[in-house]
C-alpha cells in the first residue's frame, strides 16, 4: 500500500500525561497503565460495521489518536489525523458457549496484559471476537495517558449509541465536542502557570511540610532498591447493609460516604503503622468544566490528603478533620501532582513512591477493572465499590495473607466505627476475637508447673545429690560440690555475723576467681542479695554503685581493696583466707548448710537474689532487683532447655552482667561444672570443648574450635542475624544455637528461639522465638492494646520472671512496671522499650529499641537490615551500622572488619538496598570495640574521617561517558561545573529535568537508557558506568561480522 504518511500535529502534553509518562518510565514493559473497556455488541452487525463503530469513536476523540514523544527536551502529544481502524478478528464460532467464554477471558487477559508503548500510535489495542455469525465482542484496552475511568463510561456510551444507529440505519445522537483533549492541555498549561501555579504550590508546601515521607506500613519484606509495578489484588464485598450505615453516618455528619470510608482507612493505617500523621492518596476526576464532560482523555489528578490522627480523637472527630482537610485539598485539586512532587520531594528515592504510598478510591457505581493485571501503582490501594471491592498491594512488599488481613481489619474497623463513632481511634476493633485470643493466649500458653523455691535451696539440693562431682574449675583449682558448699557455708556465717540477711545487699567487688563463686553462694545462703560490681569499671562508677546499692557489706580482694570502703571484707586476706581454704579444720566454723534459724530472718522465694545494675541510654545506672522465685523460674526452664548445663559450662563474661546467670547458677543447679576463665585465656581451653557456652553476637568471631561448645551455644544480649551465625554453624553443624532475648528486668532470658542442628536459617534477623515457661509476651500499641500479627508493637513481659523493680527508685519502677490488663488480676508487666512483631507462626521478631528509632531523612531505618547485607558480601567478617550526628545532620555510618574496601562495598550496597539505607561512609576497622560485657561499645566507634564520598568536592570527569553525563547535567541544570561525583538531584534536578537529561543522553549515545537509570544512579560516575555497561552489552549482542564492520568503521575514522 502506498500513500502519503498520515498528517500529524503536535501540542504540549497535559500535566497528567506528563505524570503518567514519567511514572511509566520506571518500567515501560509493565501493563500497569492499561485500562480495559470491553463491549459486547448487540447482535446483527457485520464485521465491517463493528469495525466502523470503533473507527467512528476514534475519529471523534483526538485522545485516541495521540501518542507522546520527547521533542527538544519537552514532552509533546502528537495527534494523528483520523483514518479507518483495522481490527484483527478471533473467530470462536466453532466453540461451545463455555469454551467461548473461557477463550474470550483468555484473549481479554492477554490483551490487557500487553504493554502499550506511548511513543508509537495508536495508544490502544483492540480485537474483534466473533461469537456468532452476527455476534461480535470488542476487546479494547487503552493507555491511561489518554483514557481515564470516566472515559470508560463515555466509550461505552458512544459505542452503544453508534451501533444502535448503525442497526437502525439512522444517525447516532452524540454530544457535540466543542474542544478536543489537546485544546484542554494547552488551556491547562496556560491557566496553571506562573503566579497562579506558585500560589497553589505554596498551599501544598505548607500542607505537606514535615509530613512523613514514608508511611511505615508493616511490610513483610524490606523494600527493594527499585520499585516495580508488580502487584496483586484481594477482592472483597462489604457486608450487607454496611454501606447503608456508612451513608447514614455521612448524612448525620453532613459528610459524604467517601469521607466516612476514607476516615476509616486513615484510622486503620494509623493503627497498623503506629503513627498519628500520614498522607493518603485520593484523586479528583479533573472534569469540573462542562466542556470536558464528554471528552475521552486523561483528566484525573492525584490529591495528597494529610491525615491528622493526633491525640487519639474519636472517629466522629476524625471524620470532621477529614472533611475539613479534604475540602481544602480538593479546592487545590487541580494543582498538577507532578509539580507537587517536585516541590515537596525533589530527592526521589526509587524505592519509595513519593508523597504517598497508600491510596483510597470510592467508586460506588462503576465496578473494578475486570481483568487482573498483576500490577499496582501504590504500595496499598483500596478501590471500594457497592459490589466487588478490592485491595491492590505491591507483591514486593506484602504477602497475600497480609493483604487479606488488612482487608479484614478495614472492614471490622469500619463496621465498629459506624456502629459507634464516639469511640476513640485506639478503641476501634482491629483484631478479630480469634486473633486476639491467638496473640494474648495461644502464643502465650507457657504455663508449666514449677515448685517455687529459692536458688539457695536448689543449689543445696544439688550438693546433696552430687557431692563429689566437680562444681568449679578455675585457675588450676578444682572444687567438688561438697567442698564448694562447705566454703560457702563458712563464709555465709561470717556474712550473717556482719549483718547480711534477707532484704539486705552484699556488694561483690571481686575479680573472676574461685573466691567470687564462693562469695556469690555465700551471699545467697545468708539470704541477702548479691550485687556484682565489675572490677574493671572506673573507680568513680564503682563508687557510685556502692553508694547507690546501700549494701550491708562489701566484699573485695586485696587487689580491689583500694576501690572499696575501708570496712570491706577482703575474701582472700589472711583473716578470711581460712574461710576458703578447702582443707580448713572444724575450728573455722560449721560447714553444714545454714537454716532459717541461722539467718537473720527466714528466707523466702520472694526475697531478692541479686541486684544487677544496668545503664539505659539515659540517666544513671539503676539496680534491678530480681527475686529468688524469678531466678528459680528461669533456671528451671534453662535446665530443661540446655542439656549442656549438666556438663561443663565455660563462664567468661563478668558476673555483673546477667547473661552470666545461666552459665553460673545453671550448672550449679544441674550437677554440671562451671569453668571460669576469660575467653582469651588459655585456661578457657583446658579440659576440652565445653558443653555449654553463652555469648553475645560480638563474641562469635572469637569462637575457635577449642572454645566452641559441643551441645548448646546460647546467644543473648544483642540482635542476631543469620549472617552472623552462618560461618560458625557451618563449622559446628551438630550444635544447637539458641537465640535468647531478655532484659535484666525480666530475668536473664524471657523469650527464646532454638535453632536445631542443621535447621535451615533464612537470611536476615533471627527470630527471638517464643516466651519461656510461665512468661507472657505482649505486643502492644501506645494505648496498650494488642497489635495484630505482623504489626510492630512494643514488647511487654509479664509472668514469673518479672523483677521486683529498681532499687530505691519508686517512680522509675512505676513508670516501667505497669498494671497488666491481661491474665491474673493485680499483676504487673514490664515495659521493655523494645519493638517487635509477631510472625504468622507465633514467633517474635526483635526490631530494636523504641527510643532509638533510627530515622534518616524521616525514614525509619532498620540497621540490622544493612548489617545483614554487608555481612553477606565477600571480605566482610563483622559489620555494624550506626547513625552519627558528627556534622549535625544524622548520617548512616558503617563499620566493617574484613578485607573488602569501602568503595566496593558502597557500590554493592547501592545495588541491593534502597538509597536511604546506603551508609554515607564505610569505615574499616581491625576489630570492633567491645565493652567489658562483650557487647559492642558504640561510644568507642571512631567518627569517619574525610567527607562523605558524594559530597567530596570537585572531581573532574575521568572518562568520555562521565564527560558526556556531566556536560548534559550542567546544561540542563544550568550549573557551571559538574564533576564525576556530583548527584543530579543534589544539584537541583527533578523528574522533569531528568526527563530532558535522559532524552539528551539517549540522543548522544544511541543506547536505550531507561529513565529509571537516573533515579537509581543519580551520580555522574555511576550513570556513566551504566551507559558504558549498556554499550558493552549491545556490542556483546552483535555478531562477529557486525563487530568487524564496526571496528573497520572506527579504524576508517582514525585514518
Amino acid at each position: 500500500m502506498t500513500g502519503s504518511p498520515p498528517k500529524e500535529w503536535t501540542f504540549p502534553a497535559s500535566y497528567a500525561q506528563e505524570r503518567v509518562w514519567i511514572a511509566n518510565q520506571l518500567d515501560t514493559g509493565s501493563p500497569v497503565y492499561n485500562v480495559s473497556s470491553p463491549w459486547h455488541f448487540a447482535p446483527g452487525l457485520t464485521r465491517e460495521q463493528a469495525t466502523g463503530v470503533l473507527t467512528r469513536v476514534v475519529a471523534r476523540h483526538e485522545a485516541l489518536r495521540t501518542h507522546l514523544r520527547m521533542d527538544d527536551g519537552a514532552l509533546v502529544q502528537v495527534v494523528r489525523e483520523a483514518g479507518p481502524v483495522d481490527l484483527p478478528v478471533d473467530d470462536l464460532r466453532g466453540l461451545s458457549t463455555p469454551e467461548q467464554q473461557q477463550r474470550l477471558n483468555d484473549l481479554a487477559g492477554e490483551l490487557a496484559r500487553t504493554p502499550i508503548p506511548l511513543d508509537t500510535p495508536p495508544p490502544w489495542r483492540a480485537r474483534l471476537v466473533q461469537l456468532g455469525d452476527a455476534d461480535w465482542y470488542l476487546l479494547f484496552v487503552a493507555h491511561h495517558a489518554v483514557f481515564d475511568s470516566h472515559s470508560v463510561l463515555l466509550f461505552d456510551r458512544e459505542v452503544a449509541e453508534i451501533s444502535r444507529a448503525v442497526l437502525a440505519g439512522t444517525e447516532p445522537q452524540l454530544p457535540e465536542l466543542s474542544i478536543q483533549y489537546a485544546d484542554y492541555a494547552v488551556w491547562q498549561r496556560d491557566q496553571l502557570a506562573g503566579a497562579e501555579l506558585d500560589r497553589q504550590l505554596d498551599f501544598w508546601r505548607a500542607r505537606l511540610a514535615d509530613a512523613p515521607p514514608v508511611t511505615a506500613l508493616p511490610l513483610d519484606r524490606p523494600r527493594p532498591a527499585q520499585l516495580g509495578f508488580a502487584g496483586d489484588e484481594v477482592h472483597f464485598t462489604l457486608p450487607e447493609g454496611l454501606l447503608d450505615r456508612v451513608n447514614a453516618l455521612a448524612t448525620a455528619s453532613s459528610a459524604t460516604g467517601f469521607m466516612v470510608l476514607l476516615s476509616a482507612y486513615a484510622a486503620l493505617l494509623g493503627r497498623i503503622c503506629g503513627t498519628g500523621d500520614l498522607v493518603v492518596g485520593v484523586s479528583t476526576a479533573g472534569r469540573d468544566r462542562a466542556e470536558l464532560a464528554d471528552l475521552i482523555g486523561m483528566f484525573v489528578n492525584p490529591v495528597a490528603l494529610r491525615c491528622d490522627l493526633s491525640g487519639d480523637p474519636t472517629f466522629a472527630e476524625l471524620l470532621e478533620r477529614v472533611k475539613r482537610d479534604l475540602v481544602d485539598a480538593m479546592d487545590h485539586g487541580q494543582t498538577p501532582f507532578q509539580r507537587i512532587v517536585e516541590a515537596v520531594a525533589p530527592h526521589r528515592d526509587p524505592s519509595v513512591q513519593p508523597v504517598f504510598q497508600a491510596a483510597f478510591n470510592f467508586i460506588p457505581d462503576s465496578g473494578i477493572d475486570p481483568v487482573l493485571l498483576g500490577t499496582t501503582k501504590d504500595d496499598l490501594a483500596f478501590d471500594v465499590t457497592a459490589q466487588t471491592s478490592r485491595l491492590l498491594y505491591r507483591t514486593a512488599l506484602f504477602d497475600r495473607r497480609t493483604a487479606e488481613a488488612i482487608v479484614d481489619r478495614y472492614v471490622r474497623l469500619l463496621a465498629g466505627a459506624v456502629a459507634d463513632p464516639g469511640q476513640r481511634l485506639s478503641e476501634l476493633p482491629l483484631l478479630a476475637d480469634a486473633e486476639r485470643d491467638l496473640v494474648l493466649r495461644t502464643w502465650n500458653d507457657t504455663a508449666h508447673p514449677v515448685a517455687g523455691s529459692t536458688v539457695t535451696a536448689r543449689i543445696e539440693q544439688q550438693v546433696a545429690a552430687t557431692p563429689d562431682a566437680t562444681a568449679l574449675v578455675c585457675d588450676g583449682v578444682q572444687l567438688s560440690y561438697a567442698r564448694l558448699n562447705a566454703a560457702a557455708n563458712r563464709l555465709a556465717r561470717v556474712l550473717v555475723g556482719r549483718g547480711a540477711g534477707p532484704e539486705t545487699r552484699v556488694a561483690l567487688v571481686v575479680p573472676r576467681s574461685v573466691e567470687l563463686v564462693v562469695a556469690i553462694l555465700a551471699v545467697l545462703k545468708s539470704g541477702a542479695a548479691y550485687v556484682p560490681v565489675d572490677t574493671g569499671y572506673p573507680a568513680a562508677r564503682i563508687g557510685y554503685l556502692l553508694d547507690d546499692a546501700e549494701p550491708a557489706l562489701v566484699l573485695a580482694t586485696r587487689a580491689t581493696a583500694a576501690l572499696v570502703p575501708a570496712d570491706a571484707l577482703l575474701v582472700d586476706a589472711e583473716e578470711a583466707g581460712s574461710l576458703l581454704r578447702v582443707d580448713a579444720d572444724a575450728s573455722t566454723g560449721p560447714e553444714h548448710d545454714l537454716t532459717d534459724a541461722d539467718r537473720r530472718a527466714p528466707l523466702d522465694p520472694a526475697h531478692p537474689a541479686y541486684v544487677i545494675y544496668t545503664s539505659g541510654s539515659t540517666g544513671r545506672p539503676k539496680g534491678v532487683v530480681v527475686e529468688h522465685r524469678s531466678v528459680d523460674a528461669y533456671l528451671a526452664w534453662a535446665r530443661a532447655t540446655y542439656p549442656g548445663l549438666a556438663g561443663t559450662a565455660l563462664l567468661h563474661s563478668p558476673v555483673a552482667f546477667d547473661l552470666t546467670v545461666t552459665g553460673l547458677l545453671g550448672p550449679l543447679t544441674a550437677g554440671g561444672t562451671v569453668r571460669l576463665a576469660g575467653i582469651d585465656e588459655s585456661t578457657a581451653r583446658a579440659g576440652g570443648r565445653p558443653d555449654f557456652l553463652k555469648v553475645t553476637p560480638s563474641h562469635l568471631p572469637l569462637l575457635d574450635g577449642d572454645l566452641s561448645p559441643t551441645t548448646d551455644l546460647v546467644i543473648g544480649g544483642e540482635a542476631l542475624t543469620a549472617e552472623m551465625l552462618a560461618e560458625w554453624r557451618a563449622a559446628h553443624p551438630d550444635v544447637a544455637v539458641i537465640n535468647e532475648y531478655g532484659p535484666t528486668e525480666a530475668t536473664v532470658g524471657c523469650v527464646a528461639a532454638r535453632i536445631a542442628p542443621g535447621a535451615e536459617l533464612p537470611a536476615g534477623p533471627v527470630t527471638i522465638g517464643t516466651p519461656v515457661w510461665n512468661v507472657e509476651a505482649y505486643l502492644l500499641d501506645a494505648a496498650l492494646r494488642p497489635v495484630p500479627p505482623g504489626v510492630v508493637g512494643e514488647l511487654y513481659v509479664a509472668g514469673d520472671q518479672v523483677a521486683r523493680g529498681y532499687l530505691r527508685r519508686p517512680a522509675l519502677t512505676a513508670e516501667r512496671f505497669l498494671p497488666c490488663p491481661f491474665g491474673a488480676p493485680g499483676r504487673r508487666m514490664y515495659r521493655t522499650g523494645d519493638l517487635a512483631r509477631w510472625r504468622a507462626d507465633g514467633t517474635l521478631d526483635y526490631l530494636g529499641r523504641a527510643d532509638q528509632q533510627v530515622k534518616v531523612r524521616g525514614m525509619r531505618i532498620e540497621l540490622g537490615e544493612i548489617e545483614s547485607t554487608l555481612l553477606a558480601l565477600p571480605g566482610v567478617r563483622e559489620a555494624v551500622v550506626t547513625v552519627r550526628t558528627d556534622d549535625g545532620e544524622p548520617a548512616l555510618v558503617a563499620y566493617v572488619v574484613g578485607e573488602a574496601d569501602s568503595g566496593t562495598l558502597t557500590a554493592e550496597l547501592a545495588r541491593t538496598l534502597p538509597a536511604h539505607l546506603v551508609p554515607s561512609a564505610i569505615v574499616g576497622l581491625d576489630a570492633l570495640p567491645l565493652t567489658p560485657n562483650g557487647k559492642l561499645d558504640r561510644a568507642a566507634l571512631p567518627a569517619p574521617t574525610g567527607g562523605v564520598p558524594a559530597g567530596a568536592g570537585y572531581v573532574a570527569p575521568r572518562t568520555d561517558a562521565e564527560a558526556l553525563v556531566a556536560e548534559v547535567f550542567a546544561e540542563i541544570l544550568k550549573v557551571e561545573k559538574v564533576g564525576a561525583l556530583d548527584d543530579f538531584f543534589v544539584l537541583g534536578g527533578n523528574s522533569l529535568r531528568g526527563m530532558r537529561a535522559m532524552s539528551r543522553i539517549r540522543a548522544e549515545v544511541e543506547v536505550d537508557l531507561p529513565m529509571r537509570a537516573l533515579f537509581s544512579h543519580p551520580v555522574v560516575a555511576d550513570l556513566a558506568a551504566q551507559i558504558e555497561a549498556l554499550i558493552a552489552a549491545e556490542v556483546d549482542g552483535l555478531s562477529e561480522a557486525e563487530v568487524a564492520a564496526l571496528l573497520a568503521a572506527e579504524e576508517g575514522n582514525e585514518t
Binding site: 532484704e503 521486683r804 512496671f817 498494671p819 497488666c820 493485680g826 499483676r827
Partner: protein, 63 residues
Amino acid sequence: MAEPRFLVVRNDEDQYSIWSAERELPAGWYDAGFAGTREECLAHVDTVWTDMRPRSVREAATA
C-alpha cells in the same frame, strides 16, 4: 491540647504504678487517690512508695 491525665494506682501487694485516666483500670488494681500529669503522678509515687517490698514480704517479716 491538654496534657494526658494519669492516675496513681496500687495492687494488693502495695506495688504502685501509673495508668491513663482515660482507660479502664485492669482487674486487681485500685485508684491510689492521686491524679495528674504523668510527671506529677510519678513524683507522687516517689513520695508514697517508701517501702518497695511487696506487702506479703513485708507482713511476713513483721509477723
